[in-house]
């Protein structure tokens, strides 16, 4: 795999639920947690996805069905060829004693970070948040491992919101940094909490992307102008300092900023 187009057969599909699947590919090119790839479904489109793990020469991508492309992806079976390009962007740095937070469909990139830390025998703490038990990704594994889980309705783990739980964890324990991925409202809340506690952050953002190689200008953040596809998607306090658009609806495929946020942001 590299930045030019190449197609790979799907080697395995794991269904978490009908709208959430993990796809496996034989890809040895080293990818860092937090980096992403572009997946091409020939005849349809090409879209960005984080890598949710890479081990034993296999790359995993976990996709949530929310629109035309991701719904079509649910039909993929072993042997089907898809294009994969990348890896793109700058990922997470594995850090000792990090608090790793994955909220909603943002679990994929932090899952890779957490798994990598485990393989490196670096000690980290994982917090998973979701609306309800059914929406907790990789539920069995995380329950087995005793990861901290919170759901909005209390149907699994503690009842409550991710930022509130992070406040509690910071009050009772000490961490070196917060690494997170998830809805932007959660990321913004975590950024503010981290500032209060003088903690560095590594937060993974999403923006509408086309080229992923820093050319088209579609994913640049207002205020700083940095490209989420190249300088991101994982950003620190310093890199977020000048950004003026956090929490606003993302610019769409035309470059316009719509009145209402897209599905992924809700």
């Amino acid at each position: 795999m590299n930045e030019q187009m190449q197609t790979f057969p799907v080697v395995e599909v794991v269904e978490h639920n009908p709208t959430l699947k993990t796809f496996y590919f034989k890809v040895k090119t080293p990818v860092k947690p937090g980096q992403f790839v572009l997946m091409w479904l020939p005849g349809l489109d090409e879209k960005p996805f984080s890598v949710s793990d890479q081990k034993r020469g296999r790359l995993e991508i976990t996709i949530k069905a929310i629109g035309p492309f991701t719904k079509k992806a649910m039909e993929l079976e072993p042997g089907d060829r898809v294009g994969l390009r990348g890896p793109f962007g700058r990922g997470f740095e594995v850090q000792d004693n990090a608090l790793i937070v994955g909220a909603g469909c943002g679990v994929a990139p932090v899952r890779f970070l957490h798994e990598t830390a485990k393989r490196m025998e670096v000690n980290t703490t994982l917090l998973i948040g979701a609306r309800n038990s059914a929406e907790v990704l990789f539920k069995d594994q995380y329950v087995d491992e005793g990861a901290t889980i919170v759901t909005d309705d209390g149907s699994l783990g503690g009842k409550g919101l991710v930022p509130d739980r992070v406040r509690e964890m910071l009050a009772s324990g000490s961490y070196s940094t917060i690494c997170a991925s998830g809805p932007e409202v959660v990321l913004v809340a975590l950024r503010n909490i981290a500032k209060e506690h003088n903690l560095p952050v590594q937060l993974s953002f999403e923006r509408y992307m086309k080229c992923a190689i820093g050319i088209c200008g579609q994913c640049c953040l207002d205020g700083s102008g940095i490209r989420v596809c190249v300088e991101g998607p994982v950003l620190t306090h310093e890199e977020l300092e000048q950004v003026t658009e956090l929490g606003l609806p993302h610019r769409d495929a035309t470059g316009q900023r719509p009145e209402k946020p897209g599905i992924c942001q809700a």
Binding site: D45, C216, C220
Partner: protein, 306 residues
């Protein structure tokens, strides 16, 4: 001390290097960041009267000698671009060029009138994009009559703002085309746009890779083609030339200036050398001036012609 300041159609620039249209030109902050990295001016992504989503992906694919793109002229519409230009003005001093395109001569007039409200330093008229042929027919830039008519209507509607006509090599003679633009009132010639269109096929799935199947070729591979076009334009018309096509270092930028260019736009090289490419090429151009013990780029311009 040698310096890189240039003047083009009355526009003063600290460096001859311009951000090419369609690259990092969607938002004000992105363009300001390019200026922070050494560009003398920036060009907005080409806009039309109404917003366009562009083609699905893949729409930009790098390959060994450059890249191929069929973004499909996505843009937020001219009025949104006017707002970006205003935001840019609040943040940044360097000149900003606004690129426009349209599907008919009348529409070129209309989009020009609307973009003029943002008061850009230059209006660049894209009559040369190869990516939307099926919708708009062959590029207007392939026809002397169409290009002449567009130049006239755009000049009429641009008011005091200078107009650049952006040409394609895919016309009977780019030198003559530039002369036609000059005779019809243009102030600057931008050349060239992407070449082709070209195609790349994935052997695994046996299909063209771009969703549009074909797309414009840019980057290192087209440099000699662009350079020769600039040379020919310089011999056929007296307008200042904004040269673009495959430039990625100071040597190539100097070649464009020796062929007759006033300014040099860089697009695809942002991929290979990063946003820092502008700063680096500035430094490399200064080295060329030092080599010839020259003070200004004006002394270099056109130097390759007898």
């Amino acid at each position: 001390m040698p310096h890189l300041k240039v003047q083009m159609a009355g526009i003063s620039m600290d460096s001859p290097l311009v951000l090419a249209s369609g690259v990092l030109g969607v938002t004000a902050s992105s363009m300001r960041r390019v200026v922070d990295h050494g560009a003398g001016a920036v060009t907005t992504k080409s806009c039309s009267i109404h917003p366009r989503k562009g083609h699905p992906g893949p729409c930009i694919i790098p390959y060994e000698h450059g890249m191929i793109n069929a973004v499909g002229l996505s843009n937020p519409g001219v009025d949104a671009v006017v707002n970006e230009i205003r935001t840019y003005r609040d943040e940044c001093q360097a000149p900003i060029f606004a690129s426009v395109f349209a599907g008919s001569v009348e529409e070129f007039g209309k989009v020009t009138r609307r973009i003029a409200a943002g008061n850009p330093d230059l209006i660049e008229v894209n009559v040369s994009c190869p990516n939307v042929q099926s919708e708009f027919g062959a590029p207007f830039g392939a026809s002397f009559e169409d290009t002449a008519a567009i130049t006239r209507i755009v000049k009429k509607n641009a008011g005091k703002i200078p107009v650049a006509m952006k040409l394609t090599v895919h016309c009977p003679s780019i030198g003559k085309m530039a002369k036609v633009c000059e005779d019809n009132g243009a102030d600057v010639i931008t050349a060239i746009n992407t070449v082709g269109p070209g195609m790349l096929i994935d052997v695994g799935v046996k299909r063209p890779i771009l969703s549009n199947k074909m797309g414009g070729v840019s980057g290192a591979g087209i440099f000699p083609v662009a350079l020769k076009a600039v040379w020919e334009i310089h011999r056929n018309c007296n307008l200042p030339i904004l040269a673009t096509g495959g430039v990625s270092n100071g040597n190539e930028a100097a070649q464009m200036i020796l062929a007759g260019a006033h300014a040099v736009a860089i697009g695809s090289a942002v991929y290979n050398r990063g946003v820092e490419v502008f700063q680096r090429v500035n430094e490399e151009l200064l080295e060329v001036l030092e080599l010839h013990e020259m003070e200004r780029l004006d002394d270099l311009r056109g130097g390759a012609h007898e």
